[in-house]
Symmetry: C2
Subunit: 455 residues, 2 copies
């Protein structure tokens, strides 16, 4: 066989030990939080039938699906004349499966297929990779992890509360302190459109208002004019644009602003209820900001809308979600509403790198390497190794005879914090020399003492 | 959009909450063991270039690779006249990527691509799904997990020792007690072929001897005759066939049997050394059986060969591995030898189901559900929920007002072991009623007491 220089497909990555330790730090924190809140894990297959995936993500999404060639003679249904019809026509004849594009559609499929076994309200979390044939660029990959939690089968606002609480817990445990959870309600946006006399146009309204931070109110007004919003409507928007900071003051202003919109007032009531629940739970409002122009893929959401932004970093939004009314309708099961949320693991990773928040010592790592000078030391070390592991201490014995310097280099490169050195003295006295590689301190001690120190 | 009845691709599975909890019990045990022994995690992409995968698994393997259609106009390089050439000729024009078939080839690729950054000896573990377009049948899936640990860059027999130790630890923690780790050495097989005068034919020899258990010695002799082994050779095999039980007695017989084969004696020496290391480490020989006819995909292995069988279950072999000489040669890096091992997670799962070994209460699960009769109870419960979670207790509040029976059914179906019931009395006295759903015991107590009990 000719020798190949191996490479990775565009937009894909290996995660070596250092990255895996960091990724696991994030994922374990999230998983632990999901479980603390009673969410249960689901995993769905990498491949789904194309009939399940197609048409769920818009035309662009269909293009970005990775399709898997039928196995065996994939051409058996293709005729010569088919070739002229183009790739889209031939596709169904050569591929019936595709790679998971997100975790929501497989979840909906799972709920429909297992509706009789599932206990509702169903709290599920799912942490798996997804694939998109996007053009790869910095921070955008063709394979990346999603990390979703959803509750379906209840419209209780406790679910919204729990999303806020889970985000706060995860960020606190990751050490990210400067962030804000923006929260809004689709009904408030609908109400605003009503109040300004442009009922049903909240979508366009949001696209324009969303740019407020970037381009300012004057430019936003120009855009609204171009979109044929009336001058009167644009003027009526002012109170929304000029809202002062502070959740309670925003509620106050909007309660009189939306007083004539039933749906708008319902949105306010829901959102206020979430804040009330937060207080009753014993948690404060810090990091939670009512953002009346937050819209996020408006077409999906029917109630609460969430987005998390980390401040003072190049990547802003690191997660989002909201309440939806009809998750499973496309698969024939109506009336399953729910609320969901997704942590952007890759983005959180980048944010933590940028802010230098990863712990220096990964909990996962080997705690101590046993080094030795000769065969005698090796044998002594082997017995010691068993004792350390029984005590639950991740430990290694350098596996072959080598200069002590080489053994230390191994510990150093693998970021092992402690080294045990076994020389004639240690062996003779039945002790160990334990060296802390960070401080350089080395001390001779009993094996039991060393085990206590390393634990 | 027309309503679809969703389904799963053939040979793939969803893992719902119950299965996930059981799978995680197995995977967490294995992961924890790998880390205790200083192995570091690697993850490689789902898609690999077909140039990386093709030709590594034999012709049959190439057929079983799932291929991913090139994105965009996948037909752009296909001419009408190409169609007559058949699927194999057109394949390279429409697909340049495939799904991971095992974890070994991606590991080899990773080592070659990162050889300058890796600290050798490199102890890596990898737990990821793989895909094979096999015909699905009971116990055989098109997507399944592999769970590998390898050490590359050293020929120290400490690695073989650690494989034995890791298997013993994993099985002990899983509660599987009736199993045996069969161990052999390729050099011993080579030596036997030499001694019987059929040098180089250890492959064929093993295929025949492997059936000893099933068909008996007489039939095996017939098969060897058909394969043109000389009568003299077959007779010389007798001592190997008639080996008495017991590792040390096998070593004794084979040391005189193989005395004229240098390579055979080297194999014996290596294997004896592994048993010596086991003793020095402080571990006994239980479960470890020298099996002189164990061969397992002989072509790969150059030293130790392992296989684990669980006794008295329908599925026998649940994991295996061995030492190989040239992992990365095909990618242009010679001289990287190592030893590796793979736990068959799906098979271990089936074995544990068959032996009823999964713990009744999954550690992952919600520990307590807070139930209540009215709005007052809901509010009281919400504050309680916060306290439970701060104490690290996985807990839920039933999210919407419902009959108490419905709330209990939820706890029951979700296998939540404890329920807190909040009635007027509890609320008035600032206490809780804690009910153990298994025993039926219910007791009123302080919140602090309940937290201590649930912890």
């Amino acid at each position: 066989m000719p020798i190949q220089k191996p490479s990775l497909p565009k937009g894909t990555r290996d995660f070596g030990p250092v990255q895996m330790a960091k990724r696991n730090f994030i994922l374990d924190t999230i998983k632990e939080t999901f479980k603390l809140f009673g969410f249960q894990q689901l995993e769905t297959p990498t491949m789904e039938n194309l009939s399940t995936l197609t048409g769920k993500y818009g035309d662009e999404g269909d293009q970005l699906l990775f399709k898997v060639l039928n196995s065996g003679d994939f051409l058996k249904n293709v005729e010569k004349e088919d070739l002229g019809l183009g790739a889209n026509k031939i596709l169904p004849k050569v591929a019936e499966k595709g790679l998971r594009y997100d975790l929501t559609v497989p979840f909906a499929r799972y709920v429909v297929m297992n509706r009789n076994e599932i206990t509702f309200p169903f709290k599920r979390f799912q942490i798996q990779p997804v694939w998109r044939a996007d053009r790869p660029q910095k921070g955008r990959y063709r394979e990346f992890y999603q990390c979703d939690a959803d509750v379906v089968g209840t419209d209780s606002l406790v679910c919204e509360l729990e999303i806020l609480l889970m985000i706060k817990r995860v960020f606190a445990h990751l050490g990210i302190s400067d962030y804000s959870i923006k929260i809004n309600n689709r009904k408030i946006l609908t109400g605003i459109a009503e109040v300004i006399g442009e009922s049903g146009r909240e979508g366009e309204l949001c696209v324009a208002i969303d740019k407020l931070d970037k381009i300012g109110w004057t430019k936003v007004q120009e855009e609204l004019q171009q979109r044929n919003f009336s001058q009167d409507a644009i003027e009526k928007l002012s109170p929304v644009i000029e809202l002062a900071e502070g959740n309670s003051s925003k509620f106050e202003v909007l309660k009189s602003y939306l007083v004539d919109s039933e749906v708008g007032m319902a949105g306010i009531e829901e959102l206020e209820e979430v804040f009330d629940l937060l207080k009753q739970y014993g948690e404060n409002e810090s990091h939670v900001d009512f953002d009346v122009v937050l819209a996020r893929g408006l077409s999906y959401y029917t109630g609460a809308i969430f987005e998390v932004k980390v401040n003072n970093v190049s990547i802003g939004s690191v997660s989002g979600g909201g309440r939806y009314d009809n998750l499973t309708g496309v698969f024939g099961l109506e009336g399953v509403s729910g609320v969901g949320f997704s942590f952007g693991v890759d983005r959180i990773y980048d944010v933590m790198e940028e802010l230098n928040l990863f712990p220096n010592q990964q909990a996962d790592n080997t705690k101590v390497l046993i080094t030795y000078f000769d065969e005698e030391g090796f044998k002594y070390g082997l017995g010691l190794l068993g004792k350390l592991r029984v005590a639950g201490i991740s430990s290694e014995l350098y596996p072959e005879s080598a200069k002590i310097k080489k053994q230390f280099t191994y510990a150093d490169k693998k970021q092992i914090p402690f080294v045990i050195v076994l020389g004639d003295n240690e062996i003779k006295e039945g002790k160990v020399a334990l060296k802390n590689l960070e401080t350089g301190n080395q001390e001779m001690m009993d094996i039991a003492t060393a085990i206590e120190l390393l634990k």
